[in-house]
């Protein structure tokens, strides 16, 4: 029977696709089960009571926000907070290519699957072009793993096996799975530079990242606690569970909320999908008032604001990101808000770090970049500076002084 076979096949295929859709590298074995009751009882697999919360890291990151970074103030991508400098003289001038330049720089990218990564990727390419014209970089070799851990592992292996990479830059897609691949790259003797998400090893020459997820989550939660009356309700919107940077954001926020007088009415996963965000917020508004929105990333924040508009409700106190669509909406509506920043300019730093390493200059072993939110005070400045930028652009992209500015970012 043709129809029966089709039926069986499709059911099987459908299940497979659906099942594989949720089997990514998720360190927690079981799915979160009690998000919405976060206010009453902290769930064990997310938030301040979970294994994701490390008090020492939390304290360090919160303190780092107030540390004056070393380095030029007008080039935040070269600044470092509390750096521990490491000597790179061993890497200078080795490997036939010589000090004269024309180095081959290899970059294993996790993906360009969200606007934040696309913006950073453009900035990185512009920085590479500058160094290519200066004759520092000969070839820039790139592999895009499209969010696939296995593909990224083989991408890194290919770089190692090719043997002609003078430095390997890695932006890991997930923490635990990529660690052995990064270690293998380190063992090849080439300088390895990791940025954005971390791995569980310190074998790389430098690990570049902004202050981190705890600081990010705390900034928004503190803003809500300061700007809302005690007893106000807060809805937390998260993209997905199980990614360390995102879990840290929520863990820090959860801690601050639990110590404040705010009531968290819900914690929802949205996948960053605007339609889902709008639907969720609309449903919460049907059930009761929501005074504040905390988001772990800016994707789709405008849809959440629109849900309040369409429901005829007053604007909430809003924690968004430095994404242009949100900054513009914020300006337009005049709501009380803050634009969190996960410094997009960090995409420039690995390229400049490679240049320093080849030249034998010292780099920080852990290169902590500044991470300051967009506030009401500097909103106008960022809007003006990025007036021509598309709506899914990030205000703190840090490429204004590169030769391709602004066309490279406006005509993407």
């Amino acid at each position: 029977m043709r129809s029966t076979r089709a039926l069986l096949a499709s059911a099987a295929a459908g299940t497979l696709l659906l099942l594989t859709a949720c089997t990514t590298d998720t360190p927690t074995e079981e799915a979160p089960s009690t998000e919405t009751s976060a206010a009453q009882e902290a769930p064990a697999d997310s938030g301040a009571e979970s294994e994701w919360f490390v008090q020492a890291d939390y304290d360090r990151e919160l303190a780092q926000r107030d540390v004056e970074p070393e380095g030029p103030a007008d080039e935040p991508w070269l600044q470092a907070i509390e750096p521990e400098w490491v000597d790179t003289a061993d890497f200078a001038g080795e490997d036939g290519a010589g000090e004269s330049g024309d180095k081959t720089l290899c970059f294993s990218n996790a993906s360009v699957s969200n606007p934040w990564r696309v913006t950073g990727w453009i900035t990185m390419q512009q920085q590479v072009e500058v160094l290519q014209e200066e004759g520092v970089i000969g070839e820039f070799r790139v592999s895009d793993a499209a969010d696939d851990d296995n593909k990224q592992i083989s991408d890194i292996q290919a770089f190692v096996e090719a043997g002609d990479c003078d430095a390997i830059v890695i932006s890991p897609s997930t923490t635990a799975t990529l660690t052995p691949a990064v270690e293998a790259a380190c063992e090849s003797g080439k300088p390895v530079i990791v940025f954005d998400r971390g791995v569980n090893t310190d074998c790389m020459v430098t690990f570049i990242h902004p202050i981190g997820g705890y600081a990010y989550g705390a900034v928004g939660a503190e803003f809500l606690a300061e700007n809302l009356d005690p007893g106000s309700t807060v809805l937390a919107l998260r993209i997905l569970p199980g990614v360390d940077v995102l879990e840290h954001r929520w863990a820090a926020a959860d801690k601050i909320f639990s110590e404040s007088d705010l009531e968290v009415v819900g914690v929802e996963f949205t996948g960053g999908d605007g339609a889902k965000i709008k639907d969720l917020v609309t449903q919460y508004l049907q059930r009761g008032e929501v005074d504040g929105i905390w988001m772990d990333a800016g994707d789709g924040s405008v849809a959440a604001v629109e849900a309040f508009e369409d429901a005829g409700q007053p604007y909430p106190v809003f924690v968004g990101e430095d994404e242009m669509s949100f900054l513009r909406k914020w300006d337009e509506t005049g709501m009380t808000a803050i634009g969190n920043v996960y410094s997009n300019f960090q995409w420039r730093t690995p390229i400049l770090a490679a240049q320093k390493i080849w030249a034998g200059e010292e780099v920080p072993s852990e290169w902590v970049l500044p991470q300051a939110p967009v506030t009401d005070a500097d909103l106008a400045g960022f809007l003006e500076a990025n007036a021509d930028m598309p709506s899914l652009h990030y205000a703190k992209f840090g490429g204004e002084d590169l030769p391709g500015y602004p066309e490279a970012w406006t005509d993407r």
């Binding site: 043709r2 059911a11 360009v112 605007g274 049907q286 369409d310 598309p390």
Partner: protein
């Protein structure tokens, strides 16, 4: 299958048995009962859901899936699949945002272009399936990947631009246009018009031969039906309605990188839930619509129950399998 119960003969007991049979038959009545049950549970948990404002918000959210499910219905009833609709919705929203970039004057030209693009995708799906004899499962799976990849290539990975305000009216607004008050969403009207036209179409010779083709393509061909052209038109309808759904979804929430993801499985689940047989030849438009509403209601219920979103794909998979098993059970007996 008929939606009206035949109560002209038999005793009260016979009528009761007939009702029970129909409720358990895996057809439209089962899903209608499920819809009523799910809505009732939601109202018990959250009485404010029964308020007209909330119901209209639900209708606005569900309208795109209803439109999409009806498009999928045409293809499935003719014995094929269309897995490309989710990618197509995503592609259309991204294309619209990039081309109009918030410019009101470009709204209608871009909508026109979207329709042309949608029909082109449908035509390719249909002709490759019917004339090149590539199974539609493969054709549309390929189309899904082609669209997904092409859009990524074109945009450099993530969407740019913005949708104009007038583009967003259909999916976002309603009348009277007072936020927070009762309003009839335009999206609901669009969905009703689509349902109405689809019901009419299925009563016309086109609809009847389409079902016949799905039931037995060889017999239909011997009786003079142009099988390839009927199926191609089903794909055209599916892509056209996916474009309409794209206008509604883009209007509802604007452009994000994730728009459209997984919608093909939502649409297929909705149609199957409505008791439309995979493999074709059985099921009604109205059942597909009720299936879509039930699926949306289930997701609303999951929200109310605070069921973690990580569990939802698994639940959707179970629903898909149970619905198909249920439909198959009826066929055996």
């Amino acid at each position: 299958m008929t939606l009206t119960a035949d109560t002209s003969r038999g005793t009260a007991r016979g009528t009761a048995r007939r009702w029970r049979e129909q409720l358990l038959s895996g057809g439209s009545w089962t899903v209608l009962a499920l819809l009523v049950l799910v809505l009732a549970v939601i109202v018990v948990i959250n009485p404010s859901f029964a308020e007209p404002v909330s119901l209209m918000a639900f209708a606005k959210k569900a309208a795109p899936l209803v439109v999409l499910a009806i498009g999928q219905y045409f293809v499935i009833v003719s014995g094929e699949f269309d897995l490309s609709v989710g990618s197509l919705v995503g592609a259309q929203v991204v294309i619209a945002a990039r081309l109009m970039d918030g410019d009101e004057a470009l709204t209608w030209p871009v909508v026109g272009l979207m329709l042309v693009f949608g029909l082109l995708v449908g035509l390719v799906n249909g002709l490759v399936t019917t004339l090149l004899r590539v199974p539609s499962f493969i054709t549309t799976l390929g189309m899904m990947l082609v669209l997904f990849g092409a859009i990524r290539l074109w945009t450099g990975g993530a969407p740019t631009g913005a949708l104009s305000e007038s583009f967003r009216v259909l999916g976002r607004k309603g009348f009277p246009d007072v936020p927070g008050q009762f309003q009839v969403p335009y999206a609901l009207l669009v969905a009703l018009v689509v349902v109405g036209l689809a019901v009419l179409l299925m009563r016309r010779p086109f609809g009847r031969t389409l079902v016949a083709v799905g039931d037995n393509a060889v017999a239909a061909a011997y009786s003079g039906a142009s099988v390839w052209w009927l199926r191609t038109r089903a794909f055209l309808l599916s892509s056209f309605l996916a474009t309409v759904a794209a206008v509604l979804i883009g209007g509802f929430a604007g452009v994000t990188a994730q728009v459209g993801q997984g919608l093909e499985f939502m649409a297929i689940t909705a149609v199957v839930l409505g008791g439309v047989a995979l493999g074709g030849g059985r099921g009604t438009v109205v059942a597909a619509m009720v299936g879509a509403l039930t699926l949306e209601a289930l997701f609303t219920l999951f929200n109310q129950l605070a069921l973690p979103s990580t569990v939802r794909p698994a639940v959707q998979g179970v629903i898909l399998i149970v619905a198909v098993a249920y439909a198959a059970r009826r066929r055996r007996t």
